[in-house]
Symmetry: C2
Subunit: 226 residues, 2 copies
């Protein structure tokens, strides 16, 4: 599926496969947020040994999707508003920097590819009901490309390897299909321009505003609901 993470490599071992299944289950809420994880029960469900289940749990912990306490057990992380805002703060910092680095380090080919992707999104947006499509896959695709374009292993690992699973979880569980789609598209467009101009400073600033705008959009929504 197109949504899949660029850092995930082919699942070869059975622990890998169980990890992926549980990843989807947690992201989509099949395994409820905040629920306790029973090792014997899950091991029976997936028809595997507890050892290999624990291996899978370790990977989930690496993504900050579950939390373990010694001699007590694992819990799926809770989805709180505060937690969501914390993630946005981290994203603003990291993706902003990733964008600056992308402006410095992206190859010409990568830039061309990204521009092509944007054009494709534009037509998709015009043709279809579009909004929801762009919001979901298109937005993630764009952010992934920028992050990978930074050519910074640490940045890529933190953002794509761990943080973005949490982002997807929040999007699923809070049912976010915000009306920012068209606005977000214009912002993406300007960011790519800055990268193509090799203007790292501007690229960082635009990306930070782009993410901060999303955060404020959430904050407003929350404020309205109350």
């Amino acid at each position: 599926m197109a949504l899949d993470n660029p850092t995930t490599q082919a699942a070869v071992t059975t622990a890998d496969k169980v990890f992926e299944q549980m990843l989807h289950a947690i992201v989509e809420g099949t395994i409820k947020a905040g629920s306790k994880i029973s090792e014997p029960e899950l091991a029976k469900n997936y028809q595997i040994s507890r050892s290999t289940l624990r291996e899978a749990l370790n990977r989930l912990e690496k993504c900050h999707l579950i939390e373990r306490k010694a001699n007590v057990g694992s819990r799926v992380v809770e989805c709180s508003i505060a937690g969501l805002l914390e993630i946005y703060v981290v994203r603003e910092a990291l993706e902003g920097m990733a964008c600056r680095q992308a402006a410095m380090n992206m190859t010409e080919d990568e830039i061309i590819e990204m521009q092509a992707m944007l054009k494709q999104h534009a037509s998709a947006k015009a043709l279809r009901d579009g909004v929801s499509y762009y919001q979901e896959e298109g937005d993630l695709d764009f952010h992934y490309k920028v992050i990978l374009g930074s050519h910074n292993k640490q940045l890529i690992n933190i953002l794509c390897g761990q943080l973005y699973h949490l982002v997807r979880m929040y999007r699923c569980q809070f049912g976010m299909n915000s009306p920012r789609a068209t606005k977000a598209f214009d912002e993406h467009s300007r960011i790519i321009e800055a990268i193509a101009d090799r203007d790292g400073e501007l690229a960082e600033m635009l990306m930070r505003r782009h993410i901060a705008a999303s955060r404020k959009n959430i904050e407003n929504k929350i404020a309205q609901q109350q």
Copy 2:
């Protein structure tokens, strides 16, 4: 020991203890960077089962200190100049943001405590040979306090929980006792001022410059050596 990480909680299980031992061994180079890890051999060394060794290895992987490939094994990460610079880039982004958040979220008590710490560092610096002391423990203490002051769980986890082990590893292996000690002290002083003034924007900028200066210092050193 004072250097220890604020996020590390008491090691209760044996896997925890082995993890800590290996952590120190890798950071200090007793277990060489880039070397392959033999599970049977290490299990015998620490006199534990392979299962609990693998548990420890999983935690090391979480800190990005080792890398695993399916059906092949684990290797200690390599310490390259490029890798070091990548870490500085991430720190500039994350600690800059942490500093901004600290200016917004730190309690008055925390600020007072941090000011006291700085004063203590100042006297220690004046009295002793100082330079090396301040460089090592004092610098880390300061950065830890700012990060914790952000009150952002994600930031704290990423920085204190994973990245700083790598930072310490690089400091050990590359033998860094740079002559920036006095300059760094002044920079710390100004950063605390900005936080006390609740000026998040300035605090972030100063922290970013502080870290960028360290990075450029390294870059210059490298350039000289060649």
